[in-house]
Symmetry: C2
Subunit: 252 residues, 2 copies
């Protein structure tokens, strides 16, 4: 079996924003689907894993784009495993036009957890370390975007608190990974999308939140183009709550 898989996508009318470009959350969904199908077809996907009480958990996702695909365009997503450590694996993506040129790239970090203990599993030994057979070297395929950055929150400002509802929640009862992306981008004024473009988006998932949790969004300007966001749950007058995820958004 080859190491790199390729999945087609098509930009549907209801999947584009007011500029006619695909919503980042939709692209994120395509990436996660590609990751799921790539691992599924090699025997260590969610379905296979559930039988042995393991599941993949997304820890980091960074997307950087030269251009966002537009309505009615078709492209492909390539995905491959860049490296495997004991507790984490790095998976990369290329988001390609039909002529093979890149719209952009993405990097992600995943852990595999035991569904009962919620503790991470050893990827180097699970399934006899089969995932190691699929590691793609830099020479075989290259992901040219920067690695995941660091967040240094000093005095982030609370800008919005929202309730969570039915449509935020996935099959596990967690607020779904894509919905955080939507809620974070909804913090920005429309001019960012209309007059600039989203060039890079990073997110680090720290803890699960659940249906009914209130999510509080804190922002901190890094520079004129870049903003860090921290999402916390359970913030009250007397509690700073718990960090659910952190994100970095760059418009240029």
């Amino acid at each position: 079996m080859r190491k790199i898989d390729s999945y087609p996508f098509y930009v549907e009318p209801f999947h584009v924003d007011l500029t006619g470009r695909m919503f980042l959350g939709i692209l994120g969904n395509h990436l996660l689907n590609a990751a799921g199908r790539h691992s599924q077809s090699r025997g260590w996907g969610i379905g296979a894993l559930n039988e042995t009480r393991h599941t993949w958990v997304l820890s980091r996702l960074s997307i950087e784009l030269e251009e966002m695909p537009r309505q009615y365009e078709q492209g492909t997503i390539e995905t491959w495993v860049e490296s495997v450590m004991k507790l984490f694996t790095n998976r990369n993506f290329a988001i390609l036009r039909q002529d093979g040129t890149p719209y952009g790239y993405a990097r992600s970090v995943w852990a595999m957890i035991d569904m009962e203990t919620r503790r991470p599993s050893d990827l180097l030994t699970l399934y006899d370390g089969d995932i190691l057979n699929y590691v793609v070297s830099e020479e075989e395929n290259h992901c040219p975007i920067a690695g995941h950055g660091r967040f240094r929150f000093r005095e982030p400002q609370l800008v919005r608190t929202i309730p969570t509802y039915y449509s935020d929640v996935d099959i596990n009862g967690h607020i779904n990974s894509i919905k955080y992306i939507e809620h974070i981008l909804d913090l920005f004024p429309i001019e960012c999308f209309r007059d600039q473009r989203l060039q890079r988006f990073e997110i680090a998932y720290k803890a699960e939140s659940y249906l009914g949790d209130s999510l509080s969004f804190y922002t901190q300007e890094v520079d004129a183009n870049e903003t860090d966001i921290e999402v916390r749950k359970g913030v009250t007058d007397t509690s700073e709550g718990e960090v659910v995820c952190q994100a970095k958004v760059r418009f240029i």
Copy 2:
């Protein structure tokens, strides 16, 4: 060219709710895509129409389901034109399992408007009335669900007011048809989805709303299983606002 088209769908992991069933908004999106592709391939789709300054506007959508498709299932959506009047056309859908048995059906009503004047066009003469060549009789294909119902709001209660953001808006700057469905279902307690199932959903689109509009949701219980919802924009202490859409939701 045949009258009835058929489009495959697949239930992706991020497209299911906490019960593992497809979100209704996702199904709605599949239906509208099927409608778009059916008309597109016959020369009266959005792309073709934009050239002559016309566009389709969805007026009504009613979906009734015996069962909602579940995660990883594959199915097909059949769509066809049931009838054409001067200012409206009725389009039906069958949502089918792989073995051809129905998950459910849907009905919709569309108008075609002149994009400049925003006034409806005469469907019987536009494109030489070509759409009439594709009308499917009851004998050819049958949509067994009830037609669109009536709303009789007496004393609906205001239950929620929400702002609208970037991710609510489509390429025309309007709050997108699918987002209303999500926001309406978010009004219901989780028990409705977990302990019952959504058996029928109807929506009537009355006016456009725009990025930044506040949407106020009013509900009125019809009986133990059925609730009517009215969505208004621009509600203030001194104004009842304008009706944007009305919906009927039945859980059994």
